[in-house]
Amino acid sequence: MSGSSLLEFIQQAINGLTLGSIYALIAIGYTMVYGIIGMINFAHGEIYMIGAYVGLLVITVLGLFGVDSISLILLATLAVSILVTGSYGWTVERLAYRPLRGSPRLVPLISAIGVSIFLQNYVQLGQGARDVSMQPVLTGGWRFGPEDGFQVYLSYMQVLIAAVTVVSMTVLTLFISRSRMGRACRACSQDRAMANLLGIDTDRVIALTFVLGAALAAVAGVLVSMYYGLVNPFIGFIAGLKAFTAAVLGGIGSIPGAMLGGVVLGLAESFASAYLRTEYKDVVAFALLIGVLLVRPSGLLGRPDVEKV
């Protein structure tokens, strides 16, 4: 491998990791909900879209007030977006899923698709169906490599995305493994009926799961607003589909699996685009999914599901 091919490889890996971080953040929402109530929340992509809208709005408002400190913008935007998006997550669960608890699996699934359509149209009516764009808040980056040849470019924004993702994931992991509520979450995911019998308020745990998932989707939404600067009411669909794929790839129900799945998917897309043709990036991503599921039906890190009688 010559010098410049190596540099290109590194650049593509950076591209893939950035994309994968975003997928991973959204994928967590799918996987957590599935892990606890065994349902695919198809409205999750729309929750992410709302997070992106709120992010863009807050950044624009802060810009109007002349706030230009990146850390302040990031913290304020994340806080507001997590708050708003989290409450959407909670409301959706309360209104569309909780009344259907105990009904056959297909029913909440249909309800989820309904919520997804509703939210898409709701934002479309409220914000307009057009693209809303914003100029980048954080520009610049580091360049490595020969002056006159191919240079690897690592933007501050990409580092920020990776850093925020790692921090969010760490906080989530600590929360799940150390806190009292986290233990309740794990108990519910193992056996909800038993957890309930032992005095855990399972409805609260489920609501919390939705809020946590929505909060991470909000983080992804804010990062996407800052990185790409373009949102419209339809971005949730593709992002949701990709993140769902990432969750299944990593093993649905497993949190580390969702992280790994997101990164693997991002890298696969990036390398397919680089070394094959751009048209093939989705083909490769989904072929990878099928391949993994054939060999490991429960995903990369998923545990085989034992049918309980």
Partner: protein, 373 residues
């Protein structure tokens, strides 16, 4: 039946008769459906189409309408989705509207045109440029804009003779419009002896192009042609500059609107765009331009004047042929020429304009444009 219910019944019948009377009265207008994207990612172009058509309707009505009847523009949203376009076409058929100005995107115009041809509805698109639309042997389908086999070669020749890139990349969005025009450019530059190093399709709605940009940077691409619309190109431009890939880009009229600068910011400076000649600079249109500006509308968009002209042609045909039968009007339009803001136009047998010119503009970061040649 007692008296009370009889009274109620007769009142109800009376009400129905009144309503019907109202409908019959409304039917006295000549309805023209204006079908295009009112919502969705490319709704900006729909605005151009709608404002042009509405202005024409207003001005014609202000002068007494056609044959004593007022025109009425019925705006219908197809979101530039092929599926939605067919639903819209069915709605137009069911509503017995006989004339359509639209659709806007080639992908939605093509399936809709089939219905119009079958149902004998006159269709003039002010914006769809894919050549296939007029290659179906239809008699009811016209357009007041050029085609990609004019636009593509204009761009291709400019690339081959003026830019002379060593390593040309051609990208498209895999849609009927974008890919069609990219293929035309590809054909033209190949004929001039330039072999593109890359010909690839991205996805509609894609936001991350970093992998593709890295590849082009690695291949030392020194000129990029993009066939498609502005949302994707805007991000492509912005991410290219961000990665330090400073190559010049060129695109078709689908990228030439203000939003490209809103999305790409400074990165949109120097973008080359093939657009219909700017009819708003034609002195003959000075009054019309003023009318648009008085209403706070922008007459410089590429589809405003073609859309105005489409309505004008329908009205003139109704007046000239002294009929409202769309099939007879189509024959009349085929045989005659019309004075419109886009010039004195006549149509070829397939419904294309006999003459239409695309001009190359250089786009600026403040969303203005200047002609290159």
């Amino acid at each position: 039946m007692n008296t009370f219910s009889r009274n109620v019944l007769s009142a109800a019948v009376g009400a129905v008769v009144l309503v019907l009377g109202g409908v019959a009265h409304a039917a006295d207008t000549v309805k023209i459906a204006v079908a295009g994207p009112i919502t969705g990612p490319v709704a900006q172009y729909g605005d151009m189409q709608m404002s042009g058509a509405k202005m024409a309707v207003e001005q014609i009505n202000a002068k007494g309408g056609v044959n004593g009847k007022m025109l009425e523009a019925v705006l219908i949203d197809d979101v530039c989705e092929p599926k939605q376009a067919v639903a819209v076409a069915n709605q137009i058929v069911n509503d017995k509207i006989k004339y359509v100005v639209g659709h806007l995107c080639s992908g939605s115009t093509q399936p809709a045109s089939k219905l119009y041809e079958e149902e004998g509805i006159l269709m003039i698109t002010p914006a769809a440029t894919n050549p296939a639309i007029t290659q179906q042997g239809y008699r009811m389908v016209f357009r007041t804009i050029g085609t990609d086999d004019q636009q593509g070669p204009t761009a291709g020749r400019y690339i081959a003779t003026q830019i002379k890139p060593k390593k040309l990349a051609i990208l498209h969005d895999k849609q009927q419009y974008g890919e069609g025009i990219a293929k035309e450019v590809d054909k033209t530059v190949k004929a001039a002896g330039i072999q593109p190093v890359l010909f690839e399709g991205i996805s509609k709605g894609q936001t991350d192009f970093s992998a593709l940009i890295t590849k082009m940077k690695k291949d030392e691409v020194d000129f990029v042609y993009y066939g498609g619309y502005h949302p994707e190109l805007g991000l492509l431009l912005r991410q290219s500059r961000e990665q330090g890939f400073d190559t010049k880009y060129m695109g078709p009229e689908g990228v030439g609107n203000k939003d490209i600068s809103a999305i790409a910011g400074p990165a949109s400076e120097g973008l080359l765009v093939t657009l219909p000649a700017d009819f708003s600079t034609d002195p003959a249109n000075a009054n019309l331009v003023k009318a648009f500006k008085d209403k706070g509308q922008d007459p410089t968009g590429p589809f405003v004047m073609p859309s105005y002209s489409a309505v004008r042609i329908i009205a003139d045909a109704i007046q000239g042929a002294k009929t409202e039968d769309p099939v007879k009007l189509a024959e009349y339009i085929h045989k005659n020429s019309f004075q419109t803001p886009i010039g004195n136009v006549a149509f070829k047998d397939n419904g294309d304009l006999k003459e239409f010119e695309f001009v190359i503009f250089e786009w600026h970061a403040d969303a203005t444009k200047t002609p290159v040649k």
